[in-house]
């Protein structure tokens, strides 16, 4: 079997990298180390075929890899050495697992003859990642590598996607290999892995009947719609049957925010219209979402009067939180296609009028003040980028404001750490997104807390000339926790005051990026325009916002729509409407 490069030495490491090239991998993100030094050497030989991006922390590498995959739907790999390299990757692997991202994580390991002897930089990486991966491999023989890599990518990218970890001891990557004995398989044979793609026709028919009978249906779409590329089908079904659509954080962009049938995001910080529509519907059609607690709140109270159809490729999701009336195991795009073959046009004029009224009466609102309001920053960002940028949000208040105030219209436009809620995700993930989509504007929206967790990647951004813009919504606090402490803990701040916030603009400049500090509302738009005019520069905008601004609406953790807290301006009206609805 010939390799795609000329080389004198062929070791396990070359077989590994060759297999990655054959999978279409363009980038390996990671950090070198003793246990991966042969792999680094092989990557040297494969220069031109595959790019090795040297990050500043393995967590940064894992998120950068994740952002590359989410933005593009193309494969990528992250890598760390044994021991601390592996443990540093863990956060990124868990992030990918919770959001079903097909990340491939590669770790070096001490040589097989040292395993179990507490050797230098030894840790049980295989055991550590076991609960946070879709599957994992501990390699023992270099001749197994082509099969393992093929299987790893197949498992990561098919069915419900998810991360796969490969742990590679140094002696395996160092061992010379006889190329005539190596075979790179095209196909895989895994007895225990056969995802169901087509929905059961009987179940699909039952779902269609429920749709035709419903008076107040709603489509509730999740990350599965993005993963399976089902946005067009969602739109066709919504338009044909005149059903409103609500999307989870993971599916933002999967249905256009400016579409008349769009209600916005439901759940803890979702819109009033989406929460009312979902909870007071008579049919919930869940596609590729998992009835997460941040969406449902108290399960006993959730959409009580509604029948439920649950479409998911992962059978274990069906019935896990909510028992559906019609369960359909299958791929979102395929099953929606099956539904579209049999459902006829329908109208729900009265229901849609009601939803429009909710949208009109309970918009997202905030009041301008002396200080810059974070919502204003997001609105201006949307205006300056004409709603076209890839937005990568971290976790916290700014993430929710980004979801609320930045309208998206295409899948893979809004990337965020939905399930794990990983601080430090957005900045490196945005770097990955920009590498994957160099022709698009990419902006990371981060908090002052999260940015400090991975800002060492400024070096990566500058060295590899990845001209993203970073908007720091700087409120000097861990804002979301502060908000909870304001609302539910009598304002007793504990562990939220980020004293010693550095001058982020100066830090950016020190790394060779452009830094701007904005403290006046009048300067926000100008600064953002200037940032995006500098197309080839990394720009960090440190925007000081009102620390006391709260994110509304809010349904407190574990409660139901009945306990929704809206902005003070709308409180009376919401109270009246809720008592009407509950009665």
């Amino acid at each position: 079997m010939a390799l795609s490069i000329q080389t004198q030495t062929v070791r396990g490491a070359e077989i590994l990298v060759e297999a990655l090239v054959r999978e279409g991998v363009e980038y390996v993100f990671g950090i070198s180390g003793g246990a991966v030094i042969e792999i680094c050497d092989a990557l040297y030989h494969y220069k031109g075929k595959i790019h090795f991006v040297l990050n500043r922390h393995e967590q940064g590498a894992s998120h950068m890899c994740d952002g590359f995959i989410r933005a593009s739907g193309r494969p990528a790999v992250c890598m760390g050495t044994s021991g601390p390299g592996a443990t540093n990757l863990i956060t990124g692997i868990a992030t990918a697992q919770m959001d079903s991202i097909p990340l491939i994580a590669l770790t070096g390991q001490v040589p097989t003859y040292n395993i179990g002897r507490d050797a230098f930089q030894e840790t049980d990486a295989f055991g550590l990642t076991m609960p946070i991966v879709k599957h994992s491999y501990a390699v023992r023989n270099p001749y197994d590598l082509p099969r393992i890599v093929r299987e790893a990518f197949h498992i990561a990218w098919t069915g419900r996607p998810g991360p796969v970890h490969i742990d590679l001891p140094r002696d395996v990557s160092r061992t010379p290999v006889d190329l005539s004995q190596v075979d790179f398989p095209e196909t895989v044979q895994i007895r225990g892995y056969k995802p169901t793609i087509r929905g059961h026709p009987l179940m699909v028919r039952q779902a269609a009947e429920l749709i035709m009978q419903a008076r107040k249906p709603i489509l509730y779409i999740g990350g599965g719609v993005v993963a399976s590329g089902a946005s067009q089908e969602v739109r066709q079904l919504a338009e044909r049957c005149q059903m409103p659509v609500t999307y989870t954080l993971m599916a933002k962009g999967g249905f256009p925010d400016d579409h008349p049938l769009c209600t916005g995001m439901p759940g803890m910080h979702g819109t009033v219209a989406a929460n009312f529509a979902l909870n007071f519907s008579d049919l919930v059609i869940c596609v590729g979402a998992r009835f997460d607690d941040r969406v449902t709140g108290d399960l006993k109270e959730f959409a009580k009067g509604a029948k439920k159809v649950h479409i998911d490729i992962d059978p274990a999701e069906i019935g896990k939180n909510v028992k559906p009336d019609v369960p359909i195991v299958g791929d979102a795009k395929t099953v929606l296609g099956q539904l579209l073959e049999i459902v006829g046009p329908k109208r729900h004029d009265e229901w849609l009028l009601q939803i429009d009224e909710w949208k009109r009466e309970f918009p997202l609102v905030y009041e301008r003040g002396d200080k810059i309001k974070p919502q204003y920053v997001l609105e201006v960002l949307a205006k300056v980028t004409r709603g076209q940028a890839i937005v990568v949000a971290d976790v916290g208040q700014h993430q929710m404001w980004a979801a609320q105030y930045y309208p998206c219209h295409r899948p893979r436009q809004f990337l965020t750490t939905g399930g794990l809620g990983t601080m430090g995700y957005a900045f490196p993930a945005a770097l990955g997104a920009k590498l994957a989509c160099p022709d698009q504007m990419v902006v990371a929206v981060v908090g002052d807390g999260g940015f400090q967790m991975t800002m060492a990647e400024l070096a990566t951004a500058v060295v590899y000339r990845i001209p993203i813009k970073v908007v720091i919504i700087n409120n000097l606090y861990l804002g979301m926790v502060k908000q909870w402490q304001d609302l539910f803990f009598g304002g007793r701040y504990s562990g939220v005051e980020l004293e010693g916030i550095p001058d982020f603009a100066a830090i950016a400049e020190a790394y060779g990026a452009v830094g701007m500090k904005v403290t006046e509302e009048d300067d926000v738009e100008r600064a953002l325009v200037r940032a995006f005019e500098m197309e080839d520069r990394v720009v960090i905008l440190d925007i000081y916002v009102d620390p006391d601004e709260h994110c509304y609406p809010m349904i407190p953790s574990g409660r139901s729509v009945k306990d929704i807290i809206v902005h003070p301006l709308l409180r009376e009206k919401a109270k009246k409407e809720l008592s009407r609805l509950v009665a």
């Binding site: 295989f126 076991m130 609960p131 599957h135 895994i190 992962d314 274990a316 019935g319 909510v322 028992k323």
Partner: protein, 171 residues
């Protein structure tokens, strides 16, 4: 589980889980049970006639929804080939136990009688102890242990049960 009303009956289910005979498989399955707070009552593992396949016999307790979730989560593991719940089926069930029983010379006669009644056997004899081997259903082992308890059981080891479906079919 939103639709369960809390008074679903909890009972023991016996699952046969066919898995790839690979390092780490047992850890994956044990980890799954721990992570999702499912409780394993007993577990027996061995290879099958195919050396690349192992069979795990897992006894778990829970209501129907819990068992359904356990089955689905097990099926999700790449190394799991097949999961079968034997509840309500015609099955052959066996467990093996070794029991170390204290008894005086005078009592030994009674213990031997019990061993014969249960078709167990004595595998080791000392001045004041007997070690008994018994094979059978878990209930049968429980019954013998109850009868021997008054003499003083000092040590017990049980394999956990293994089962196969009766008749021609191999689910």
């Amino acid at each position: 589980m939103v639709s369960s009303n809390g008074n679903r009956p909890k009972r023991l289910h016996t699952l046969s889980v066919l898995v790839e005979n690979r390092p780490g498989v047992l850890a994956r399955i044990a980890g799954l049970f721990a992570r999702r707070s499912f409780n394993i009552e007993s577990l027996a593992v061995s290879t099958t006639d195919d050396p690349q396949t192992s069979r795990m016999t897992i006894v778990v307790g829970g209501d129907d929804d819990t068992i359904e979730q356990i089955t689905k989560q097990l099926n999700k593991l790449i190394d799991v080939i097949k999961v079968h719940d034997h509840t309500g089926e015609e099955i052959v069930e066996r467990e093996l136990a070794l029991l170390k029983v204290h008894c005086t010379m005078e009592q030994r006669h009674y213990v031997i009688q019990l061993v014969e009644i249960f078709r167990a056997s004595i595998v080791d004899v000392g001045a004041t102890m007997l070690t008994i081997e018994i094979t059978g259903s878990s209930d049968k082992i429980d019954a013998l242990m109850e009868l021997l308890r008054p003499f003083g059981i000092s040590e017990v080891v049980r394999t956990g049960k293994v089962i196969l479906s009766r008749g021609e079919k191999s689910p």
